[in-house]
């Protein structure tokens, strides 16, 4: 096998290089919880997960619920996802992180 081909196999297989990040969340619309994200699917994703997590943190702080009641336009379960929509571990702890978390039972 040529070295060039081997390098290609390694690059594609040993660790997945993400192509971008988005901040995913759920918002209350009427009686339903709707999934949304920013930047939108038609927009270019963020290239830095550090920036994405910082935006997620500020977004969560801006939309922090005041009580446990459900209100219109509430925003919950904020996290960062990659270009395939898979959740990305928070780089600070290497653990999954969800801000303004509400479990399915509460929702």
């Amino acid at each position: 096998m040529k070295l060039k081909d081997a390098m290609k196999v390694i690059d594609e297989g040993w660790i997945r290089k993400r192509r971008g990040y988005r901040v995913s969340f759920q918002k209350r619309a009427g009686s339903e919880w709707v999934k949304d994200m920013f930047p939108g699917e038609n927009e270019k994703p963020l290239t830095s997960d550090v920036s994405a997590w910082e935006l997620a943190r500020r977004f969560a702080q801006a939309k922090k619920p005041e009580d446990s009641e459900i209100h219109e336009e509430d925003i919950v379960n904020i996290t960062v996802v990659d270009d395939l929509g898979n959740p990305v571990n928070f780089y600070g702890t290497n653990q999954p992180r969800v801000l303004n978390q509400r479990t399915m039972g509460e929702i």
Partner: protein
């Protein structure tokens, strides 16, 4: 004394004959110069709304400015009585001479190693070139300062033009304690670089032992990114390496020295 009086009388006669035309021409010249200046200023603003390419904006503005100045001067000369055909011939001859001299002398003319819009490090400053003149270069630094750097300083020093190549290498140096797991540290840094979408696959990112220093093992982490991504990626990598090392129990040592004291007895 008589000579001076005769001269003054002659000038007076000339002014009587041509004075009105001379005054009109001067008014046209002055008004034309001022009007051209303002016209070009607003034209430049209009171009900046249509395009962000600074070299194009500068080129078109300067060309139009020269053209309008030539028109104003030609009109003023014509008003003062100079023959239109003669004016045309002078303009054409001057233009041809200028183009000829430019073509012949261009290889010998010292040129600045950048264009408007390039990001450069010159005169000890890092910024974007906003304009160049014969005497100085106007540089906008990233903290918002406008600096006028004399061109002679630039031509005598090394200039780094970050615009010439699309990519740039990030070179990080990270130290770990001698007690820490070297291979684990290398693997972690390599993973962090591999996951980052801004780091290019080719040339491949590398981690290697740079030095066995006094305070610890120095690791080098080299990777390539696009110019525009350089600083942000560099800062993000350092942050992630530090946090990951903290979690994995790898220490970044302080520079330190062991001192051993022995008593005489």
């Amino acid at each position: 004394m008589e000579k001076e009086i005769q001269e003054l009388t002659r000038i007076g006669a000339l002014m009587t004959l041509y004075g009105r035309e001379v005054v009109f021409s001067l008014i046209i010249l002055v008004a034309g110069l001022i009007g051209t200046r303002y016209f070009i200023k607003y034209f430049r603003l209009l171009l900046q709304r249509l395009t962000t390419k600074q070299p194009l904006i500068s080129g078109v503005s300067i060309s139009l400015h020269i053209f309008l100045l030539v028109l104003v001067v030609a009109f003023a000369l014509h008003k003062v009585g100079v023959d239109a055909l003669l004016i045309r011939r002078i303009i054409v001859a001057t233009a041809l001479a200028a183009v000829g001299l430019y073509v012949i002398l261009r290889p010998y003319m010292p040129t600045l190693p950048y264009k408007v819009g390039n990001m450069v490090e010159a005169g000890g400053l890092l910024g974007v070139v906003e304009a160049t003149t014969l005497i100085h270069t106007r540089l906008r630094t990233f903290d918002g300062k406008i600096v006028f750097v004399p061109n002679r300083e630039i031509l005598n020093e090394n200039v780094i033009n970050y615009h010439v190549t699309p990519n740039r290498q990030i070179r990080l140096k990270v130290s770990i304690h001698y007690r820490d797991e070297l291979l684990k540290a290398k693997r972690l840094i390599a993973e962090i670089m591999a996951e980052d979408p801004r780091i290019l696959n080719e040339p491949a990112a590398r981690v290697f032992v740079l030095n066995l220093a006094d305070h610890g093992v120095e690791l080098a982490a080299w990777s390539w990114v696009r110019n525009a991504d350089y600083w942000r990626t560099r800062c993000d990598l350092l942050e992630k390496i530090k946090l990951r090392f903290d979690r994995e129990g790898i220490t970044i040592p302080f520079p330190q020295m062991d001192v051993h004291l022995y008593s005489k007895s």
